[in-house]
């Protein structure tokens, strides 16, 4: 970088600083309430499939997130803003990405991690770099890999903590390790093994439609994200039919939940329109890479976290450039 471009970089820096972090014209509580409403179908579906365990998991996660948030704000002497609903959204999203059989102790631990490390140490809402629910899940995944990859067959969990629940691999794992396809109908309605909120595609689509109509969600990220996954998995499917059809890849795993409700988080995704396209494309590419060549069957969580990490760089690249800026 020459001295000249460095100077321009300085200008760009100043330009970003002038409008710090006002990313959504809508008030936080209003949007959060909208997101909570949009997640009702998915939550209801999870309670239908996994019964009281799902309900307990959701309650624990939401209550823990809100409690820890209030405690943190009290200790850091910040205004207490649990009422804005953002902690509740984090709690609900965290519950929806956890396996149904997870003991509640781990759920509470994850919730504490989401709020403390994922959000409050960055300065609270609006400053966090990573999606708090996903970073907490990544933490749990790294801490308790066995528990976070033990999935239950729907309807088999009758009593909390009972041992008669039947464990089953997720459709993506069945495909990757056993080359065993899952009927698309099951994927669409959600009668498969997986985390609480990811199994029922129908419920997720209904919720997302609500957010879109209300104008709470930018369509660019989901469209580019899902589009890239669809196109690339179709291409790969043509050469390697064992990899799963494009529809299978769209409906299985956490892709819909991630693309519709997590990647679209305005705080952790780019502010510019071009940036959002880039975010979606990058996340889609990463999902395809991890699902096809990585060690893990699913890559949605990591794809979004990695794109969260480069979001500041994307913002920097796609900000309108001042006069004469080098490309």
């Amino acid at each position: 970088m020459t001295a000249e471009t460095e100077e321009l970089a300085e200008q760009r820096l100043l330009e970003i600083r002038t409008s710090p972090h006002i990313r959504s014209p809508l008030a936080t509580p209003q949007v959060m309430r909208g997101v909570l409403i949009a997640l009702i179908p998915a939550s209801a579906a999870s309670i239908y499939f996994f019964r009281i365990q799902a309900l307990l998991l959701i309650l624990t996660s939401v209550v823990a997130c809100m409690g820890v948030e209030a405690l943190c704000q009290f200790l850091l002497k910040r205004p207490i803003s649990v009422g804005d609903g953002s902690a509740a959204v984090t709690g609900l999203l965290l519950a929806l990405v956890l396996p149904p059989g997870l003991p509640l102790y781990y759920v509470a631990l994850g919730a504490a991690f989401a709020i403390i490390i994922g959000k409050q140490i960055f300065g609270g809402l609006g400053y966090n770099i990573f999606n708090p629910a996903l970073i907490a899940r990544a933490f749990l995944m790294a801490a308790f890999p066995g528990r976070l990859t033990t999935w239950l067959e729907p309807f088999t969990l009758k009593v909390v903590g009972s041992v008669d629940a039947i464990t089953k691999a997720t459709p993506l794992a069945l495909m990757k390790f056993y080359s065993e396809p899952t009927p698309l109908k099951n994927l669409f309605f959600g009668n498969v093994a997986g985390s609480l909120g990811e199994t029922c595609a129908l419920a997720l689509i209904i919720g997302a439609a609500f957010l879109l109509i209300k104008g709470y969600m930018d369509w660019r990220i989901p469209l580019s994200y899902l589009g890239i996954v669809f196109i690339l998995s179709a291409l790969i499917w043509k050469f390697a039919p064992g990899s799963g059809s494009p529809l299978f890849h769209l409906l299985s795993g956490g892709l819909l939940l991630g693309a519709l409700f997590m990647a679209t988080d305005p705080v952790t995704s780019p502010v510019t329109k071009t940036g959002r396209w880039l975010f979606g494309i990058g996340a889609g590419l990463l999902v395809i890479i991890i699902r096809n060549w990585g060690g893990l069957p699913e890559g949605v969580m990591y794809s979004i976290l990695l794109m969260n990490a480069v979001t500041p760089l994307i913002n920097r690249l796609t900000k309108p450039k001042p006069f004469g800026a080098a490309k």
Partner: protein, 206 residues
């Protein structure tokens, strides 16, 4: 007798207010890499102690005859020599520990604590203060590594120095043995040390 308080300060400053890890942020690579278990942290601490003290003695003795132009080269060769001695000794006598520490023992060569101390202190001071300074920094470095190692080992394996503490019902947090656990624990510890230091300063002012 008049010098003694100075010497004591040379020693104690490394323990807390100039602690190489928590305050000066030096030698981060081994601090993060080998503290998955407390014993590994202790061994690394002792290896650094050996190198720091030995190079301290040599450099403080020869500092007057070394021409300025080749100062850094002299320091580097001296350090690399003692590091090799420490590394080969570990490999010969404690092969399992040597394998666990891997390339992080030879990496002491580029540990900023060593070269930094020789540059900043030993090359300007006589033998005795240099020795106290080197010991102080080493003990400060070692206790930091052991603390980090204890916390990580406790959560990642439920034990401290290989002794089971939390019992069999405790489910280990695998992440604490992995890089993310290292980074996050050290980050939080540095924050904690800052809080303690601030409290101390506030009390000192009153």
């Amino acid at each position: 007798m008049k010098r003694n308080p100075g010497i004591i300060v040379d020693f104690t400053k490394g323990l807390w207010q100039d602690n190489p890890v928590f305050r000066q942020l030096l030698g981060m690579c081994p601090t993060l890499a080998v503290t998955g278990k407390a014993l590994q942290g202790l061994t690394m601490g002792l290896a650094v102690t050996f190198v720091l003290v030995s190079t301290g003695i040599v450099i403080s003795l020869i500092r007057k005859i070394v021409p300025r132009q080749v100062r850094i080269a002299t320091f580097t060769v001296t350090i690399a020599t003692f590091v090799t001695l420490a590394d080969r000794f570990l490999a010969a006598r404690f092969p399992a520990m040597s394998a666990a520490l891997g390339p992080y023992v030879p990496l002491i060569v580029v540990n900023c604590i060593i070269l930094g101390r020789q540059e900043a202190f030993t090359s300007k001071n006589p033998l005795l203060p240099s020795l106290f300074d080197a010991f102080g920094m080493s003990v400060g470095f070692t206790w930091a590594l052991v603390v980090l190692g204890c916390i990580r080992e406790l959560l990642a394996y439920g034990s401290i120095f290989g002794q089971s503490v939390l019992g069999t019902s405790f489910e280990p947090w695998v992440v604490m043995a992995l890089p993310p656990g290292a980074f996050i624990t050290l980050g939080l510890l540095i924050g904690l040390m800052n809080v303690i230091q601030k409290k101390k300063e506030a009390r000192g002012k009153e």
